[in-house]
Subunit: 377 residues, 2 copies
DNA sequence: TTCCCAAACTTGTATGTACATCTTTAACCC
DNA sequence: GGGTTAAAGATGTACATACAAGTTTGGGAA
């Protein structure tokens, strides 16, 4: 049976948690210091007891204390200053001394507005001395989990800009977002966001965008307005809610048979869904599309069917992307200021990293961009 | 005067470089081990002399040896195994324990083929467990310098994929590329490259691309073929050289008045240069364009001028980007397989990082994609 | 030959001492 | 009050010793 010596007695008195008598004395001291830090008995900048004091406190030799302290110094928890004393490192030095690296996680990159957003983020970040690390989820939940887990595991970034994947449907991995918050890792959502999670977002005011698009069609004299929305992200829900708000305000009813919900997979091959789409457009004079990509496809489908745009069918998109100008019938659209969005997301994240109390949230007010895809009746 | 003790004598005998008698003994041992490593007297996996041996070799106490060895252990140079001995770490563990991070430096991101390239790089890299850090030069030499300098300074990546900026004009900062080579930092050029610098490249065979485009026009019966090329990157030079090769082989002469050289800035606003462009096209029935972006603009300018494409003027592009299909007159073009290029660049860099002797270079054979912008006479 | 075990050797933990070197502080002088 | 200086006290280097605990190895038993 081992004799319980002074060091153990001391720890017992102080109420140490781990009382395995087989762990070496120097580790006991290491753990003791870490405990004091957690309990806030020691704060950054504080001076630790001198080696001789610790040595007599714990009833161990000064060499053993030195062993412990040198371990803690390696972990950047303590800072030894010759002649002066041993101090607790400042947290920014202690934690990870800032990597000056931020992660950007988006669903896509080759989709129309993403290159611009990413370009602006990179521009603003590199201007401020940060490097940008990217990852794409391809709008797959498992990918997003893997990417976020990887970022959290590696712990190499000072902040994150995330475009949530499939924000419109219930997700099993909200847990990871919570973990980001728990770690106080500065983060900003772009485009989508989760109302339940307290992470600020920079995005278009999507409800207002849907509303403005509806108002524009209504003011152009349309009354039978179809809508095509994306079901698996929250922008789709919000834009739909703006669409209904506009119609209801104008005293019109919402006809479910004129509303089509599609998801990420559907958008990839809308041509295949042409009959389903045409059915929903039946009897309508206008169609409010989730975005320009959808509008672009709707125009193509209509034209192949002999439905002229805008003479027989008015089409409006949202996002005001290049596609809107490249389309054979230039598309009237709602502007999503991708440049400003990227820049603001980056700038706000930078502020957030410097001052965690900064309110980094922002929503852009939608503006209509008129082109030739809507007929005024 | 200090007495020269055994440790110093030992080092003198062994021909140590630094003989400052004021540096502590444990540091002498640290330096000695590092020297042995540089001189290849010690190789990864080798067993170091035991602590007692070193202690008597240097004439110091075992504690002092332990101090030195523990420093080297911290630096991940040595690996202590209790009961067995102390060993030299394997290089991959020793060097920097791999950051599993690669840098991708391109000129643009929002230009047509870049999103695809970057997407594929990210896809392949993340599949292999790497994270991707991006930076854009906007085709500005100073930006490129700053970006590369930053990457080298931070030393946080295992490899680099670079699209050289303005590869067609003499550059002051080739020095940085040399530095990359000197550090044995795995790197791959994409799109452009410098023949003088021994860094492998993955790109289209641009000379062959120019040649194929010229052959296609020649076989379609054209003889007066104008050319518009980019002067500030090497692809422009190579594509031009393929163009001349094709014409000369067909027994035609190169008419300088039908060749237009433009640069990055010109491409931004080609509309402003319309008269200059139209002058070069005068008397020609076809125009070989540096890329689809240029071809797209040429088609627009021609149409505004009442020159029909392809009836009055055949136009051929290179890259086979989305623009080629979005153009009002779908463009015949030469395929640059952006997906394969990104994937191959990533995969080859991964191999290169694992085996520095791997030949990572690759050039794609150009293939023609026929659409409606060339008339067969 | 194969297996087991103890001896020999290795690193790990711990103590004690001594002196060097740097910083802080307080007493001192002007 | 301000500058100087020496003492006190902190960490840094270095030595010697002892025992603990894990690995390797070779000799002896089966």
């Amino acid at each position: 049976m081992k004799i319980m010596n002074t060091a153990y007695k001391f720890l017992k008195k102080k109420g140490a948690e781990t009382m395995d008598e087989n762990i070496p004395k120097y580790l006991l001291i290491v753990n003791w210091v870490k405990e004091q830090l957690e309990k806030n008995n020691l704060k950054p900048g504080d001076k630790l007891n001198s080696e001789n004091e610790l040595s007599s406190m714990f009833g161990v030799s000064r060499q053993t204390v030195r062993h412990a302290v040198s371990m803690l110094e390696q972990e950047k928890i303590l800072d030894r200053r010759r002649g002066s004393g041993t101090y607790i490192c400042e947290p920014e030095v202690r934690k990870k001394s800032k990597t000056m690296n931020v992660a950007v996680v988006t669903t896509y990159i080759d989709d129309y507005i993403f290159p611009t957003i990413i370009k602006e983020i990179e521009r603003a970040m590199s201007k401020a001395g940060y490097t940008v690390q990217i990852a794409f989820t391809h709008n797959h939940i498992e990918r997003e989990s893997a990417v976020l887990q990887n970022i959290l595991d590696r712990d190499m970034v000072d902040g994150i800009i995330i475009e949530p994947t499939k924000s419109g449907i219930p997700k099993p991995n909200l847990e990871l977002y919570e973990e980001i918050r728990r770690r106080h890792l500065p983060a900003i959502f772009i485009n989508s966001y989760y109302p339940k999670i307290r992470i600020p977002h920079v995005s278009l005011d999507d409800q207002a965008a849907g509303y403005e698009a509806a108002r524009y069609l209504l003011e152009a004299g349309h009354e039978k307005i179809a809508g095509i929305f994306k079901s698996d992200d929250i922008q789709g829900h919000l834009r739909y809610s703006g669409y209904t708000k506009g119609l209801l305000e104008a005293g019109l009813k919402i006809h479910d048979e004129n509303v089509l919900w599609i998801d990420t997979e559907d958008i990839r091959n809308m041509e295949a869904d042409r009959n389903r789409i045409l059915r929903r457009l039946e009897g309508c004079t206008a169609c409010l599309c989730y975005n320009d990509e959808v509008a672009f496809e709707v125009v193509k489908i209509c034209q192949k069917e002999g439905i002229r745009v805008p003479e027989d069918m008015s089409v409006i998109g949202i996002d005001n992307s290049d596609l809107a100008t490249h389309c054979e019938v230039p598309l009237t659209s709602i502007e999503l200021p991708a440049q400003d969005l990227g820049r603001l997301a980056a700038e706000n994240l930078i502020k957030l990293m410097e001052d965690s109390s900064f309110d980094a949230g922002f929503e852009f007010v939608p503006k209509i961009v008129e082109r030739n895809s809507v007929k005024k009746v």
